[in-house]
Symmetry: C2
Subunit: 431 residues, 2 copies
């Protein structure tokens, strides 16, 4: 990889709030950030192997998609505008039972292509046959937290947990350190208490975080009340879930006590506004969570319920939804939305020591946004433009771990047409 | 202009619902659609002057932005995340008082460039110095319904109305028929009843529609209750507003009776979900309006409250917001969202006889969307993909009145860099 240098970009590090610094220089050596600051203070060590002109570009940390089911790209548009139960029972599950390893591989490759084009440099995946999705992510060069789906009600659930633990051990730091597995009990309503307790013990034992769906719907909360005699988050505290790092997707239906618990326990709450809106799940109390000091990231959820992997759109939705829901136009301002999409996601995935901001010593996951487009003018406020006016296609260059994967809208290594052809073959067979 | 022919596109006419027809042929002669149907039934009259290969593209009617303040592009990002009154009084109005003709011209040119890039072929504008905005629209080649802003509380309101009537007469069918002016009393809370009645009489007299803001906020409704002793829509019915064609922006705060009135009176309701969310105005009851048989289009509102002119994003927001607000994931499905963005907007602007669908005899306002992108695969459902996965930048070719204004992402005549430079000069002087 060697030395990557970017000169002259408008730079947002997200380390000092969302200040925009004009004409800074950025350098990474072998994937680690070695300089980000004023051009005039930069002391070059050596000639760069790759020098990028950042003029008319905005440089910022890559977006973190903190909750998705990547291979579900294969389901995109196959079942919309439906009630949840028929959607799952008639559309999703019957097809998932037919999934072969190559389907998950190519579905994930399609997801990786889409995410890299949209400036997503890291994602948190929960899906079947995780070896396949992980292989795709490693080959695509993207950063990823993989996990299988542990359904605690299955008769072979303990075997699946054992396999999942082995998977975590086998793949930890794979892909030159880009892969950080998690254990993923699907949700409290699909994982009975004894199984959940075993997963928590295993996560503590091998030192990996847990990825789980919590309090997505009213029905989920009712299920916790039925099974534990308390609401979801209280129940999860009770059984010790929050004794390990947790990335908790959705967290829509919370009372005040639960908001406090999530904040105190430093749970990584993953807000998925697009999915929550499309499936009518409800509106997560994000301003209240932030006021309580909770860690919040953003996720797209899978393409069967969104239907894209566009994290910038989630940041926009997060801001707009918070305003209309609270009746307060100052709720969740642009700077906060951008922070959630980058640093917040990294924190939610327990990766804040390596990604989420552009700081010396962190890994070089960064994007360049083309700001020479009509909707970026006049340039009163670039953070506002990014959140309230931009679109994912404005991302032109995507860098993961110091490697340029997308350069000015073109993939440097991925063969997008081959990926599309294979993903469509899979979809043709499945549907 | 001559003969424009498009071959082999996936085609949605929006005349037969939102069916997708594979490999149809489309032809327009001198701006009028002469054929849209199966390739094998097409009988070419003559050699086309312009032949476009529609492979891997989706052909559909151009989007109609049924409510905006185009020149407010100059304000983009200058004042976000604020309460409404300080936003207006401290940020917007002081700058508007400094506006010169060239500011409105270049701000509108920037808006036209942005809209044409986003597939908007027609827009409904309400802004100061309307001759300037109209001149820009004529030069840019876009279709437009211009109107000044009539503030009834001004001491010279009657002079302004007289000028507005002259403007309507002078500009009717200007720009080769692309310009259809309206009269625009700003809103009931800024136009006292005597003035509103004069505007209604003038509109009836010269045969133009009225463009107005109605029931955007709770305060607006309270103002109607204070001044008329009834809610906004009832008050407007009482004074005869709906005896002329009306494009009514927002219509957020409505009771059941008012929904019935809007439907019965065939008022063109213009839903602006992005603006309503960002300013915390509330959530318009769109599914209820549609169930009552109302005419509904979509608008972006101005760039000071959105902050872009991306009508596809409004269609997406309309669908998502309706679902989360009603708690019903089947509310406002993709086909309806696409219909609102095209045909619904044309109907709301009283232009359904000439635009809004791709049908023989209508004007050729059409767009080509590039569907050879990761987020358009697999192709289970192209309407779903357009509403739930696409972004405005997927629009690659924009045609207004049979003329190709944007071809494969490049403007055929507009000088985008010149427009940006002038718009920024204006912004620099104003702010």
């Amino acid at each position: 990889m060697g030395i990557l240098r970017i000169e002259g970009a408008e730079t947002i590090t997200v380390a000092d709030g969302c200040q925009v610094h004009s004409g800074w220089t950025f350098e990474a050596v072998d994937g680690e950030i070695t300089y980000v600051g004023p051009a005039e203070e930069f002391q070059p060590s050596d000639k760069p192997d790759d020098l990028i002109d950042g003029a008319n570009s905005l440089l910022l940390p890559g977006f973190v998609n903190a909750h998705t089911h990547a291979a579900m790209t294969l389901f995109r548009g196959s079942a919309d505008d439906m009630q949840l139960q028929p959607w799952l029972e008639e559309k999703i599950w019957p097809v998932e039972r037919k999934l072969k390893p190559e389907d998950v591989y190519w579905g994930t490759m399609l997801a990786a292509a889409e995410m890299l084009r949209a400036g997503v440099t890291c994602y948190n995946d929960m899906y079947h046959l995780p070896e396949q999705g992980t292989r795709a992510a490693i080959e695509a060069g993207i950063r990823m937290c993989p996990s299988g789906v542990l359904l605690g009600f299955l008769s072979n659930a303990e075997d699946l947990l054992r396999e999942a633990v082995e998977f975590c051990q086998d793949y930890d730091e794979a892909g030159d350190g880009r892969i950080k597995p998690m254990l993923a009990p699907h949700a409290p309503y699909t994982c009975p208490r004894p199984m959940l307790e075993k997963v928590i013990a295993a996560a503590a034992d091998i030192g990996v975080p847990i990825h789980i769906h919590l309090a997505e719907t009213e029905e989920n909360v009712q299920s916790a009340l039925d099974n534990y005699g308390m609401r979801t988050i209280q129940a999860m505290k009770e059984i010790g879930l929050f004794s390990v790092p947790v990335a908790a997707a959705h967290c829509v239906h919370l009372d005040e006590t639960e908001i406090e618990i999530l904040a105190e326990s430093q749970v990584g709450v993953v807000h998925c506004p697009g999915s929550n809106m499309k499936l009518s799940s409800g509106i997560a109390p994000v301003p209240e969570l932030l006021a309580a000091g909770a860690t919040v990231g953003l996720g797209t959820d899978g393409c069967a319920s969104n239907n894209n992997l566009d994290l910038l759109q989630e940041a926009q939705l997060a801001a707009l939804l918070a305003k209309v829901h609270t009746g307060d136009p100052t709720a969740l301002p642009a700077e906060v939305a951008l922070t959630l999409a980058t640093r917040g996601g990294a924190e939610a995935l327990n990766l804040a020591d390596r990604i989420g901001t552009l700081e010396v010593g962190k890994r070089a996951d960064a994007i360049l946004v083309d700001i020479d487009r009509p909707h970026f003018y006049p340039r009163h406020n670039l953070v506002s433009h990014l959140i309230y006016a931009a679109r994912a296609s404005d991302v032109r260059t995507t860098i993961v771990d110091g490697k340029v994967l997308l350069r000015d809208g073109q993939f440097t290594e991925l063969d997008e047409q081959e990926i599309i052809a294979h993903a469509c073959e899979s979809a043709d067979r499945l549907f």
